[in-house]
């Protein structure tokens, strides 16, 4: 079935996002890869909307969109704060700030 191709594409996008979080040390890139994961979630939700979901999946889709929009604001707030405070974007340096 062609839906399986769409699901595999959304899985691949999800895997790209997870690989981005795991392999990156830059906090902005990590947060952008969270956006990629949310992108794959929207794709998967629309794939299941094509089945006889009867609109039940739409609230989930709108929730994902809202979370993605809120997360973009968080990315820029973090980035602007780190730039203005002249601290590093390296997650290893940032993790030492709590100590």
């Amino acid at each position: 079935m062609i839906e399986q191709l769409f699901i595999i594409i959304s899985f691949a996008v999800f895997a790209l996002g997870v690989a981005g979080i795991v392999s990156s040390r830059n906090i902005v890139i990590m947060l952008l890869s969270t956006e990629v994961i949310l992108l794959s979630a929207t794709l998967l939700a629309v794939v299941f909307f094509n089945f006889n979901a009867g609109g039940e999946i739409l609230p989930l889709l709108f929730t994902i969109w809202a979370i993605a929009a809120a997360e973009a604001i968080m990315v820029i707030v973090f980035y602007r704060y780190l730039v203005s405070s002249k601290s590093s974007l390296d997650i290893k340096v940032l993790s030492k700030l709590r100590e």
Partner: protein
Amino acid sequence: MYDITIYILAITAIFEFAAIAFVFISKSLLHSVISLTLAFIVNSALFLVMGQPFLAIIQLFIFVGGISTYALVGVASSSFSKFPHTNKAAFVAVFVIFLAVISYPLLTANISSIGTSAFTPLQVKIGITNYMGLFYLITAMLFGVAISAIILFKSLGRLK
């Protein structure tokens, strides 16, 4: 029956993977955000292939119009020259292993048990219409204007 759909799907999927991979390969945060925006546009094109033009427009409005513009302006307004880059070998390794692990159950799964699929080859004709092409044309124009504005302001900043 699904020939054209599969070709369109393959092309859009390759563009999407390339755009997302460039987010992590790029050495500039601005380039990462631009390629992420391209990934958002291609993802909404995938909605069109599925025959959901309304959801594709909303995706375009929220992700490209809202999130990408905000991220583009935020990242372009200041530049960090020194920051750690992605470990490319680890990126590829984690991607392949994780994709294999999560896709393996799908090979034996029977998706049709979830419900009756509304997907037909005609869905593509419902999705890809002339008025949707206008939306994507406007998106491309505004996206080009935004990038041109950033380049212009960066060069003006250099002149000072």
